[in-house]
Symmetry: C2
Subunit: 209 residues, 2 copies
Amino acid sequence: MRKNLDTTLYFITDSTCVPEERFLPVVEAACKGGATIIQLREKDKSTREYMRLATATHEITARYGIPLIIDDRVDVALAIGAEGVHVGQSDMPAHLARKLMGEDKIVGVTAKTVPQALEAYEQGADYLGCGAIYPTTTHVNTVITPVETLKDVVKAVPIPVNAIGGLNKDNIFVLKGSGIAGICVVSAIMKVADPETATRELKQAFLEL
Amino acid sequence: MRKNLDTTLYFITDSTCVPEERFLPVVEAACKGGATIIQLREKDKSTREYMRLATATHEITARYGIPLIIDDRVDVALAIGAEGVHVGQSDMPAHLARKLMGEDKIVGVTAKTVPQALEAYEQGADYLGCGAIYPTTTHVNTVITPVETLKDVVKAVPIPVNAIGGLNKDNIFVLKGSGIAGICVVSAIMKVADPETATRELKQAFLEL
């Protein structure tokens, strides 16, 4: 089932980047600035804390009509009624995430190679995240994905492919002509003083590529 | 729905206690020794690694007809078809775990006080784990539950209550007359040279209380 899905500006949160009281305001700023899809990504929280933050985040994103995707945790996504889940290569295999989430929910997959992309598509992924295009501070041991590989992934599957990894408005020019559907960013929104303007400028820069 | 559930000897695994190649043999030894229910508890594994270990463990427990309970992760339990899930006070609330797992699966809850026990029962718990009775090396910052509190919990709810926390065959005498349905152990099986005999002796010691 091909979904109506706008991945143009895909904001991935990281609560460890900001003081606790700033987290939800940054989410709302990204909504106001034009993020089209938002992923909550937490690695060190208990299930209950993850659920609390997911519920609070969902209250904001739902108000703006922006789908909320939960990283890794299908149980958290189901429990709080999020619009989808995103799974990486060390998370639940996509076909099981799809089975548990149901056909109507969004399932995204990280795919760094064409074989991974084809597998994810066959297993029911709605979109792919592909990278890292540039080194990133929000993952350890980043492996760089060449833009040529990104282009091959885009050609290999009929679903939206987003680029990810160290992207900002000044370096996304390398993605021109790659055929990607959008860009995923963490730091470029999470770590800036004015996340609303940053979101707006990032989206504009991508649309003008 | 009251289930047929034998919690007499409830073995909780901890893969960090043993070399990797010894983990599944210990599980099988516990099955042979008479464990009546087994919980897989992993705190630091990726979802995919948790699923792999859960699948391998389930292959053994299923052969012995022993229910496998997954700690914390409803998604892992659902994905691998485990018989149930166990949630603590920082995991998913019991009523949501019950909703996602369905009526037929086992949902266990950690309850350290009578109010927590009543809440868990009202939210659909099939059994409770209550403790720690003794200090334990498998949790940090253990809070001791007095045996009097354990007795109050047993009286408060009409479902099986198990004692947990540092229990072994030489110290469970304090549980005599408490009305518990069984005992939960980690180290007393996981960390011994002969886990099959240890399981058998623990079960016998509990039955003779």
